[in-house]
Amino acid sequence: MKYMFYPGCSLHRSARPYLDSLAAIQEKLTMELQEVEDWNCCGATEYMSVYRAPAHALVGRNLALAQQQSNGSDTVMAACSACYLNLEKTENYMRTDEELNNKVNTALAEGDLHYDAGSIQVRHLLDIIYNDVGMDRIKNLVTNPLEGLKVAAYYGCMIVRPDVNQRWNSPEYPTVLEELMEALGAEVIDFPMKTHCCSGHMTQISSDVAYELIRRLIYGATHYEADILVTLCPMCQLNLDAYQIEMNNHFDTDYVMPILYFTQLMGLAFGIEPEELGIGREFVSAKQALAKIGAPVPDEVPEKGKPRRKKKKEEGLPMPQVSTRFNGGSK
C-alpha cells in the first residue's frame, strides 16, 4: 500500500517520537510512504480564520506538490491532526468553492504550480491503519499483547470535527482508536472526554485557561483509572505531556499521567524495542505504567539546554480554583 506522506513540522521537532515510532512499524504494516518533497507549513490552527485565501494557498501548495509528485497513489497521509484537517479543509473548499479555487490556483501559478481540486484524497494515519491495514492484520502482528495496561483513548477535536468526508464513525464519540487498542490487547476504559479540547494554542495565549483544560483531561483519565493516555495528535501530546508539570504546579496537584502516541503502543505490541519507538523522551515518564506490561523502558532522556522552568510568580489575585477538592482523585 503506497501513500504520499505529509509529515508537517511537529513530526520533525516536538513529535519526533511519533515519526520514529511510525517509521518503526511502517514496514510491518506494509505501508510504503513517500514524503512530499519541499512541503511547507500547513498553517496550523489559526491562520485560516485570520486570512482565508492566503491560508488556503499555503495548504494548496502542499496539495499541488503532492499531485505533481504522486506516483501510483492519490492519497496524502498526515499523522498530525492539524495538518490533516487543514489539508482536508483546503481540498474540500477548493472543490466546492469556485472563487476560492481560482484564487488559490492564481497564487500557485506564481510558482508554476496548479492543484486540480478533487485529485487528492487526504487521510489521517489512524484512518489508514484502521481501514486499509485492518484489525485482522494488526492482531496477527501482535507478539507482546498489552495485557493489563489500562488505556484512555484520546482523539482531541481536529480529526473528527468537522468530518467533511465522513471518515469517522462518530464525530462526537468515535471508537476507532479504542478498537485498535483492544486489538493490541490493552484494556480500554470508557473515557468520556475523548474529544474534548486539549487547549490548543491557549498555552501560548492564556495559560490559566490552558491549565484548566489540561487539568480536566488529566483528572478525567486519572479518575477513570487509566495507566496511560494515548493520543494521535502532536499538539494534544505536547499540551498534556509538556504542560502537565506546570499544570500540577499551578493547581498544586500531583497527577502523573503519561501521554504516548498510539503508534508507540503499536510498536510495543509488535515487539519493537521501546528506544526505537521514542519511548523515554516524554516529559511525564511512561516507565512505571509500561512496567505493567514488562516493557523495559530507558531512563528519561534529558532534554538538552532546556532546564525545567519553575512556576512563575503570579501577579495580582489568583484565579478562583477548585483544585484542592480533587487531589484525592489522583492515584
Binding site: E172, P192, R216
Partner: protein
C-alpha cells in the same frame, strides 16, 4: 368525404381555457388563446373556444354541460391546472352533459405553463401548443366504463395497538367481521406500557383495557395474536391474506389463564419488549396482567425444555393440561375486502448518541423505560428510583429531541416528546419532590389543553433550559459534580454554557418507523416516505388511504402522533372501509394496462417493475398477465416493455403519438403579445 371532414373526422370539440384567477391569466393571454382555438383549430374539429375565470366553479362546469347539449360536442378539452387536481371534476361535468366522461382531456397550462414561465408571449404560444396536443389526443379517446369489483365484507387489521383496536371495534360494532393480527402475545401496543396519559393524567390502562377486553370477546372480531402476515394477494374487495400463527405451545381452548405455569417456570428472562429491558418475565408468559387474550406463550429460544431437553415444569403444574410442546406454526389464509395497517412505531435507539451515555451510564434512562418505571404494575411498582432500584433521585434532567430534529438522525419532530417530557416532570415532582430540569429546543404544545398543562408544570417549579444538550457525562470537574451525571448544555437564552449535575437523566427518544416498515409496505403494495413512514394517498385530504385501493393506514405507522390523533385515524380508516362495505361493490378507474398476447415474449421485465404488484407471469401460457384490479394505470410497464406488447387504455400509443403530433403542429406563427402591464 370533404377535406374538412378528413381532419375533423366529424368531431365536434369544445376547448375551455381557465384563468384560474390570475394564476394562469397573469402569464397566459387566455382570451387570445380561447379565440385562437376556435378560429385556428376550427378545421381540426374545434367548434367551441371559451375562457372563464374559474372553470372548476359550478358556473364553469355548467358551460361544458350546456355546450355538449346545445352545440352537440363529442369531445372536451379543458386547459387549466394539472389533471391531479380537477380531472375528475371535468370528467363529471362531461358526463353530466351526456358524454362518456373519458372523452374529456386536460391540458395543464398552469403547472406546466404559467407557473414555470414569466414571458407572456412565449407562455401563450406554449399554452396553444399544449391545447393543440390535447385536441389531437382527445380525438383518439374512447368511451370507457369503470370496472366494478365486489367488496368482501371482512376486514384485516394489522397491529393491535390503540389505532388497530379502534378500527376493529368501529367495524365490528357496525356488524362486519374483522381479523385483528398482532405479532406480540397481547394486543394493547405502546399505550399498554404507559402509566399516565397527557394532559389529563388519566391512567392509560384504565382507559385502554376496557377496549382491549371488548376486542377479546367481540363476536365479530377474530383475534390472531402471536401471528404475522406472510403474504398478501388479490386486490381491493378481494384480498387473500396468508397469516402465520406462531406456535405458542399452549392449547388456548384448554387454558384458563390461571397463571400457574409462569409462576412455576424456573427460567427468568429480561423482558426487552414490554418492560424494555427494565424488568423480567418467565420463558412462558403473558406480557402483562391485563393481557388480551389471557393465554400465555412459550418463548421458544429461552425455554429450558427446548434448550436442554428437560424441565416441562409448566406442563407438570398446568391444571388443565393445556401445554403442548409439540405445537407447530399454523398457516392460514383469510379473504378480506379491505386492510388497515396500524403497525405503530419503534423507539429511537439512544445508544446511537453515545455522548448522552445511554447504555454506558447507569442512571441514564429512555422515555419508554421511564414510562415502565412510573407504571404501578411496572418493574419498580411505580417508584421512581435510580438503576440501583432503591435510591430516589434528588434531581432529574429530561432531555428533549433525542434523535428528533437532528440532522444526524431524524429531521422531523417526534410530536409527542414535549408533552411526554412535561408529564414526566410532573410525575417526578409528584412522587419524589426532586428538582427537574427540562432541556428543550422549542416547546411544542399545540393541541387541546396541552399548553395549559405546560403552564401547570411551569408553576410546579420545573426548570426549563433552552438548548440542545452537548453531553451527559460522569466526568466531574467542579464542586458538587462528584457522583452525579453532569448535563453539559448551551443555555441559549442566558447565552452561556452550563453544567447541571443531576442524579438521573431521561432521554425523550424519537419515534421511528418500525425497523421492518419497508418490508411491510412492500408486502402490502404501499409506499414509504424517505423517513420510512407509510405514505398517505394525500397528506391533507386523504390521510388514512394509500395509493393502493383497499389498503388503509392509521396511527403512528404514518408518522409520530399522540393518542387522540391515533384514535381519530383508527376511526377514520374504519369509516372509509364501512362506506366501501356499504356500497357492496367498487367502481375502479378504467385507465389500465393490458398485455397484447401475440406480442408478449414472456420476458418478465415488467413483472418486477410494477409498483403495485399487478403483473404476474403465467407459466402455462408463458405470458405476463396484468391484474386489472391492482393496476393503477401508471404506465411504467407500457414504457418498459421491449416488445411494445403492453398498451394502456387512456394512454395507448395512438393517443400519445397523436398528442405529440398535435404539440408539434404549431400551425400558428408566434404572435407578438402585449407584455402584462
Amino acid at each position: 368525404m370533404t377535406g374538412e371532414e378528413a381532419q375533423t373526422n366529424g368531431h365536434r370539440i369544445g376547448v375551455y381555457v381557465c384563468h384560474c384567477g390570475t394564476n394562469i391569466a397573469g402569464v397566459v393571454d387566455v382570451e387570445h388563446v380561447s379565440e385562437w382555438a376556435k378560429d385556428a383549430l376550427g378545421d381540426r374539429g374545434v367548434v367551441v373556444g371559451k375562457d372563464y375565470k374559474f372553470m372548476c366553479s359550478d358556473l364553469g362546469q355548467e358551460l361544458i354541460q350546456k355546450d355538449i347539449e346545445r352545440e352537440g360536442l363529442d369531445r372536451v378539452v379543458v386547459a387549466a391546472c394539472s389533471p391531479h387536481l380537477h380531472e375528475k371534476t371535468f370528467r363529471n361535468a362531461t358526463e353530466r352533459g351526456g358524454l362518456n366522461p373519458y372523452l374529456c382531456e386536460m391540458a395543464s397550462i398552469r403547472e406546466q405553463v404559467s407557473w414555470v414561465h414569466t414571458n407572456k408571449a412565449i407562455a401563450t404560444e406554449k399554452a396553444k401548443a399544449m391545447i393543440s396536443g390535447a385536441v389531437e389526443r382527445v380525438k383518439e379517446h374512447e368511451s370507457l366504463e369503470p370496472f366494478r369489483v365486489p367488496i368482501e365484507e371482512a376486514t384485516l387489521i394489522v397491529g393491535g395497538g390503540i389505532a388497530g383496536i379502534q378500527s376493529a371495534l368501529e367495524i365490528a360494532n357496525a356488524g362486519h367481521p374483522v381479523y385483528l393480527v398482532e405479532r406480540e402475545p397481547s394486543i394493547g401496543g405502546h399505550m399498554a406500557q404507559f402509566d399516565k396519559t397527557f394532559p389529563t393524567l388519566d391512567c392509560s390502562a384504565c382507559i385502554l383495557t376496557p377496549r382491549m377486553s371488548e376486542v377479546g370477546v367481540h363476536p365479530n372480531i377474530e383475534l390472531l395474536t402471536w401471528s404475522e402476515v406472510e403474504k398478501v394477494e388479490g386486490y381491493v374487495g378481494n384480498f387473500a391474506v396468508t397469516i402465520r400463527k406462531k406456535a405458542s405451545y399452549v392449547i388456548n381452548e384448554d387454558c384458563t389463564g390461571c397463571g400457574i405455569c409462569w409462576q412455576k417456570c424456573p427460567k427468568k428472562v429480561i423482558d426487552d419488549k414490554f418492560e424494555v429491558g427494565l424488568g423480567y418475565r418467565k420463558a412462558i408468559y403473558t406480557p402483562f396482567e391485563q393481557a388480551v387474550p389471557k393465554y400465555p406463550v412459550i418463548d421458544h429460544d429461552n425455554c429450558t425444555y427446548f434448550e436442554k431437553g428437560s424441565c416441562k415444569a409448566c406442563e407438570k403444574f398446568c391444571p388443565t393440561e393445556a401445554i403442548n410442546f409439540e405445537d407447530e406454526d399454523e398457516v392460514i389464509t383469510v379473504n378480506v375486502g379491505n386492510i388497515v395497517l396500524a403497525t405503530g412505531y419503534d423507539l429511537f435507539d439512544a445508544r446511537r448518541i453515545p455522548q448522552y451515555g445511554y447504555g454506558r451510564l447507569a442512571n441514564v434512562f429512555t422515555s419508554l423505560e421511564f414510562e415502565r418505571m412510573t407504571n404501578a404494575a411496572g418493574p419498580t411498582d411505580g417508584d421512581i428510583v435510580l438503576r440501583d432500584g432503591v435510591t430516589a433521585p434528588k434531581s432529574v434532567g429530561i432531555v428533549h429531541c433525542v434523535g428528533s430534529r437532528d440532522r444526524n438522525f431524524n429531521n422531523y419532530c417526534s410530536s409527542i416528546c414535549c408533552m411526554q417530557s412535561l408529564k414526566f416532570a410532573h410525575l417526578v415532582h409528584e412522587r419524589t419532590g426532586a428538582e427537574v430540569f427540562n432541556f428543550y429546543i422549542d416547546i411544542r404544545t399545540p393541541a387541546k389543553e396541552y399548553d395549559e398543562f405546560y403552564q401547570r408544570v411551569l408553576d410546579e417549579g420545573t426548570r426549563f433550559v433552552r438548548g440542545r444538550v452537548a453531553e451527559v457525562t460522569d466526568a466531574a470537574r467542579l464542586p458538587g459534580e462528584e457522583g452525579k451525571l453532569i448535563v453539559q448544555v448551551e443555555d441559549t437564552l442566558a447565552g452561556q454554557q452550563r453544567r447541571i449535575p443531576v442524579d438521573m437523566v431521561i432521554l425523550s427518544a424519537a419515534l421511528e418507523p418500525r425497523t421492518d416498515a419497508y418490508e411491510t409496505a412492500k408486502k402490502f403494495g404501499i409506499a414509504c416516505s424517505a423517513n420510512g413512514w407509510f405514505t398517505e394517498k394525500h397528506p391533507k385530504l386523504d390521510p388514512v388511504a394509500t395509493m393502493t385501493e383497499g389498503v388503509f393506514i392509521a396511527g403512528c405507522s404514518t408518522g409520530p402522533k399522540d393518542i387522540p390523533a391515533t384514535v381519530s385515524q383508527g376511526s377514520a380508516a374504519a369509516a372509509r372501509i364501512l362506506s366501501y362495505i356499504e356500497m357492496g361493490e367498487l367502481a375502479l378507474e378504467p385507465v389500465r394496462a393490458t398485455v397484447i398476447a401475440e406480442q408478449c415474449s414472456g420476458c418478465r421485465i415488467c413483472n418486477d417493475l410494477c409498483p403495485f404488484n399487478a403483473i404476474s407471469y403465467d407459466a402455462e401460457t408463458e405470458l405476463s398477465e396484468i391484474n386489472i384490479a391492482l393496476c393503477q394505470g401508471c404506465g411504467t410497464c407500457v414504457a418498459a416493455c421491449p416488445a411494445g406488447a403492453i398498451t394502456g387504455t387512456g394512454f395507448s400509443n395512438e393517443q400519445v403519438l397523436a398528442q405529440i403530433e398535435g404539440l408539434l403542429m404549431l400551425n400558428v406563427e408566434p404572435q407578438p403579445v402585449a407584455e402584462p402591464a
